[in-house]
């Protein structure tokens, strides 16, 4: 029985390994045939910025890892529109296409889930 699992990503990508490790768990959730979706919000939107280069600080590139999500069957990528406006980010700045949600839509997204985690 597949569960609806939402990963809520609200951390910037390189200040800690949280983002990178969270993405590793999302890839596995995709492999395990769950109904996975991802919501980028707050500083988590910075994970989607294009032209990242983790090699500049000796690590992997978070944006590139996110690019693998569709191959793993994770195609429901949502992002918080009010957060993007606050941070001055638009589709043109991002390395992946996302579906923008306002707060009411995010509330409905959460209301459909069996599990929400980070």
């Amino acid at each position: 029985m597949a569960k609806r699992i939402l990963f809520l990503l609200n951390r910037a990508p390189y200040g800690s390994s949280y983002a990178l490790e969270a993405i590793e768990s999302i890839l596995v959730a995709g492999v395990f045939d769950q109904e996975v979706s991802v919501l980028f919000t707050g500083a988590g939107l910075y994970q989607l910025l294009s032209e990242q280069d983790g090699g500049a600080i000796g690590g992997r590139t978070v944006g590139k890892m996110l690019g693998a999500l569709p191959e793993y069957g994770v195609t429901e990528l949502f992002a918080c529109r009010p957060s993007a406006e606050r941070l001055g980010l638009t589709d043109a700045n991002l390395c992946l296409p996302v579906t923008w949600l306002d707060y009411a839509e995010q509330r409905r997204l959460i209301g459909r889930q069996d599990v929400v985690t980070g």
Binding site: K3, I5, V28, A29, T117
Partner: protein
């Protein structure tokens, strides 16, 4: 109710590991079942078997070991997060030819599939953030 728990923060640096332990103890006392506690990110450091707790502070590691040994709760440590932070069981110690196992044997080192299984097999999944 069947509950799975994720612990994301290190003992000491985060209050989350202690909060999660207290929550798990209450849940068991109230007759619920803990399917698995999954230690992720710095949460894996709860397994550190060589720690010496300060005399005037609760020994959190010992509390987790007690939960595992006395109540049969599965304490699962993410292998990828554990290896890079130096948490090894005997099998990983041998595989990587290190001097010592550092994780207490009450904890089992597992793959990320067990995190997803922890979500699907439980009625509730509760994440304790760092």
């Amino acid at each position: 109710m069947v509950i799975s728990i994720a612990v994301h923060g290190a003992p000491y640096a985060s209050a989350g590991s202690r909060t999660a332990l207290r929550f798990a103890e209450s849940a068991l006392r109230l007759g619920h079942r803990i399917h698995r506690v999954f230690f992720y990110h710095d949460g894996v450091l709860a397994a550190a078997g060589q720690g010496v707790a300060p005399q005037d502070e609760e020994d959190l590691h010992a509390g987790w070991v007690r939960l595992g040994e006395s109540h049969g709760v599965e304490l699962a440590v993410c292998i990828a997060n554990a290896l890079k932070r130096g948490m090894l069981d005997e099998a990983e110690r041998d595989r990587y030819e290190k001097d010592a196992a550092t994780a207490h044997p009450a904890f089992t080192i597992v793959g990320l599939g067990q995190l997803i299984e922890a979500m699907t097999a439980a009625d509730r999944f509760v994440t304790f953030a760092a």
